[in-house]
Symmetry: D2
Subunit: 141 residues, 4 copies
């Protein structure tokens, strides 16, 4: 997807729909996480690699704007990009697209903490470098 | 809760936690919806009353900021207020509190549409008036 | 509820419905867990008390039969009873009722394990006794 | 997978784990549904084809036995087979496997109903035939 170094695909589950006949808006939050995890697997050794280093990445903010409804069995492409990495904080932006039409877009903010103490701890250097390399390859639109 | 005409209580389910040992961030989106539904039941005849009138309220935006982690079995109080109602659009703001400490806060935006055509349709007058009455009773902080 | 020492109430969330317009069948599994947790809070110091003793209770079997559909905003009463406690194993049975009509019923089986090693470990005596006392007070129908 | 005409793959989402550090037991119910939907897409024109014919397939029973825990990011293979189709009823059996080891197994029962009246209606002939063809190709183990 233009402007995104990585695209992840999900298919809307029946369990993710609601009585309006569309995908429930909370389902998107879970999809963004799945897309983020897939991005990290592609570029930075996986989210588990961060956890294995005794670090947890907490989600500190979620922002989503919904433009079109998604329905059961829709295949959605999620563009993912990571940026604004500073100290213990980083941010992802996303675009959710179906057949070339934007369904939703948003961003999430994260903070890395020590898994034992839950105190903020810098994003590991190897992780930051892996992400910067991946992002550098794709111009911001 | 100060500045909120309505407070709704939830207890964190085990199914709502994740492998970080805390409530998953997407769970809050579901709780805000439950709090919104309870607000409408209290002041405006319930969400089902809107649906019975052939109108669906879609969620068009979600914004959440997480300050503290919630854990299994926590009792959370959710302050709810509704405002900025214009044409087919309205907005809710929320504060999630545990034992007087803020855990998260955020807002959601909504649009009313005709259930059959999914075209924007004005918020029903009886609904708008009920909400305005409820809100007028509580000063914004 | 007749034949159950404990009843727990849930209200169907909008997020728990699906595009059939009814509560998704997986939602019941989460409600049974919430009812189980409430039962343990009432009679046995709460599920967290077991966890605080270094023991986890795993779910080893789930069985559910659905008779009637539940819909958004339905208030469901869940009868809960615990029995067949032997060594590291115990079992709960449930009945989900709306306005006196049975919506679903089922049972779950559980095993207690050491939280660190995940090896089976006997149900703590204080827990077994508390449950037996609670169950003794209600005749099986 | 031996004895199953169809295998579906899922990867455990972080949102699907719980504070025991493992996939929550209710997540499996959703995965079985996803596997069932994928089976129908492969052999019988998809679940939406049934719905398009004015028929809904309700889930009437769920039975699951959990043998091993699944954890975040695990890739699980789900063997799916459909059988015992009679009148308005049919049944699926499943086996959930990770790296050749069985994690869980179970079955679900379903009933087809008229989408408008919710009255039982026979499984459409084209659907029954498509399933029988698929099943005939794989001997029961």
């Amino acid at each position: 997807m233009d402007g995104y170094p990585f695209t992840h695909r999900v298919r809307v589950r029946f369990a993710e729909t609601d009585a309006q006949g569309i995908a429930h808006h909370a389902s998107f939050v879970v999809w963004l996480e799945e897309a983020r995890v897939a991005y990290l697997a592609e570029f930075a050794g996986g989210y588990q690699a961060i956890r294995d280093g005794g670090i947890e990445a907490l989600t500190t903010e979620v922002h989503l704007e919904y433009g079109r409804a998604a329905v059961f069995d829709d295949v959605l492409e999620i563009g993912v990009r990571c940026g604004e990495m500073r100290g213990a904080r980083f941010r992802f932006t996303y675009e959710v697209v179906r057949d070339g039409e934007r369904v939703a877009h948003g961003w999430t903010a994260h903070a890395t903490v020590d898994a034992a103490t839950h105190r903020p701890t810098r994003v590991p250097a190897w992780f930051a470098e892996a992400v910067l390399r991946a992002e550098a390859s794709t111009p911001t639109p």
